[in-house]
């Protein structure tokens, strides 16, 4: 009978716990550096999309988590999100603020701004012409 070294058992236990509950690796005061080691799958699932093959260590962020994940984890943040580099989960004050997207006036610096106006005026002119032309002629 092979005697399992204690250190190996501990490592296996740690790996299992981390895989079974990923929030452990992302918990407050957790060490972010450990995450890629335990998240990296040994083989790509045949049903994975082409995108997951390219970046297996980000597999979780590539697809929307299930309902349990979405509503169970408050601190789920994409690890490679712009502006999040080096950020830990040690405090909610460190959470980035979401800039609310709003409708904005288009600037005249937009590429093809004049062409857009031209197309608008052309369609308006065509409409004016058709309105002046009696229906059915």
């Amino acid at each position: 009978m092979i005697k399992t070294p204690p250190i190996f058992s501990i490592l296996c236990g740690l790996v299992f716990m981390t895989i079974a509950s990923p929030q452990f690796s992302l918990a407050h005061s957790g060490h972010k550096k450990e995450a890629p080691v335990v998240m990296e799958p040994e083989a790509t699932d045949p049903t994975d999309s082409i995108y997951t093959i390219d970046k297996p260590d980000h597999a979780e962020s590539l697809s929307l988590p299930g309902a349990k994940d979405l509503f169970g984890r408050e601190d789920m943040i994409m690890p490679d999100m712009p502006g999040m580099t080096g950020m830990s989960h040690e405090g909610h004050e460190a959470m980035p603020k979401v800039v609310h997207a709003k409708r904005e006036w288009n600037s005249s610096d937009r590429s093809g701004y004049g062409v857009a106006w031209g197309m608008t005026l052309l369609s308006a002119g065509l409409f004016a012409f058709l309105v002046r032309k009696p229906s059915g002629k």
Partner: protein, 341 residues
């Protein structure tokens, strides 16, 4: 010119379009369906062009839209046209349904076409929702977040709409597939059926204001004249959409932060957002109740009366519904949600 016209008519069978339709078809209330179809046509064309630049992957979808807006020549205008066509369609389809309800055009023998219209409304809502998700910013993520919750609550019925159904394929990719192929295809089939029944049952008459039984004389015009009117209305709609796209850029945020719930949905969905604040399961119940209510209208209202002044209950229900919807939209727009999912 008329010789060429005659040759084309003969070769292409265009004379078949000369059949008579009521003269009132050439009016704005009876052209709202045509205006909706014009917006839909513009959505299809602009959507095909947008698809050339979009990457349906959660990591790159948002940046691909930003790239389109900032780097592609007229990309901002293209996206604006697609967005504003959806906004205009939302308005015209709603007004079209109100016109059909007020003129009781859903009544015998047009019940089936009303059902097809309700299905088209549902499909348009689906297209609007999936389109909202594709830009993959915070608002988009939260929309999908709510959808995931709803499908989860639906149990086995919602399973095909969850990620568990196709492990490894991002839900966003499937939403994209639905937005550019499944939903437009079904919509076009339903639209064809809708137009077929308009032709088959003929355009509904203007409800007579006189006593029931007395028939008003109906002036007729060739259908080709109506096509020209619709063409005019369609160009007008396109001009408005172009103007809005030139002036105002649609909202676009940055890559979403998963797990947060801080945005509000587009105005077309704000009413359900307000209801959700009152009672979370209304996310499931409200669309179901409204869909069932709309579908049941021709089967509940069996009277032959079509003039609106002699249908006080129907009119009261319509006004009540519009007031309630407008109230919920306003409330949802100004209030802050008191819960998170």
């Amino acid at each position: 010119m008329s010789k060429i016209s005659n040759i084309l008519k003969e070769r292409l069978g265009l004379q078949l379009l000369e059949y008579p339709v009521p003269a009132h078809s050439n009016s704005i209330p009876y052209s709202l369906g045509g205006m909706t179809a014009a917006s839909f046509g513009l959505l299809v064309i602009s959507g095909i062009l947008l698809a050339q630049f979009f990457i349906p992957d959660p990591e790159r979808a948002n940046s691909s839209v930003h790239y389109l807006m900032d780097q592609i020549y007229l990309g901002w205008f293209l996206r604006g046209v697609h967005f504003w066509a959806g906004e205009v369609l939302s308005v015209t389809i709603f007004l079209h349904m109100i016109r059909v309800f007020v003129t009781a055009s859903y009544k015998k023998p047009r019940e089936i076409n009303w059902l097809v219209g309700v299905a088209l409304l549902g499909l348009m809502v689906g297209l609007l929702f999936t389109g909202t998700v594709l830009k993959w910013d915070q608002e988009a993520y939260e929309a999908l977040d709510h959808f995931v919750w709803v499908t989860g609550e639906m149990g086995i019925l919602g399973l095909p709409l969850t990620e568990k159904f196709t492990p490894g394929v991002p839900l966003l990719t499937r939403v994209y597939m639905a937005h550019i192929s499944l939903l437009p295809l079904v919509t076009m089939l339903a639209l064809g059926l809708h137009l077929f029944y308009v032709k088959y049952h003929k355009l509904s008459p203007i409800p007579p204001s006189r006593e029931p039984g007395e028939k008003a004389s109906i002036e007729a015009i060739p259908f080709t004249h109506h096509i020209l009117y619709l063409q005019r209305a369609g160009i007008g709609i396109i001009a408005v959409i172009f103007l809005l796209a030139t002036l105002i850029a649609p909202p676009l945020g940055e890559q979403p932060i998963l797990g947060l719930e801080v945005t509000k949905p587009p105005w077309q969905f704000v009413w359900i957002y307000a209801l959700e604040n009152l009672w979370v399961p209304s996310l499931i119940a409200a669309p179901f109740v409204i869909g069932l209510g709309l579908a049941s209208i021709p089967f509940v209202d069996r009277s032959s009366e079509t003039y609106w002044k002699r249908r006080p209950i129907a009119m009261a229900l319509l006004v009540g519904f519009i007031v309630l919807l407008a109230g919920l939209i306003i409330w949802g727009s100004v209030t802050t949600m008191s819960h998170t999912m």
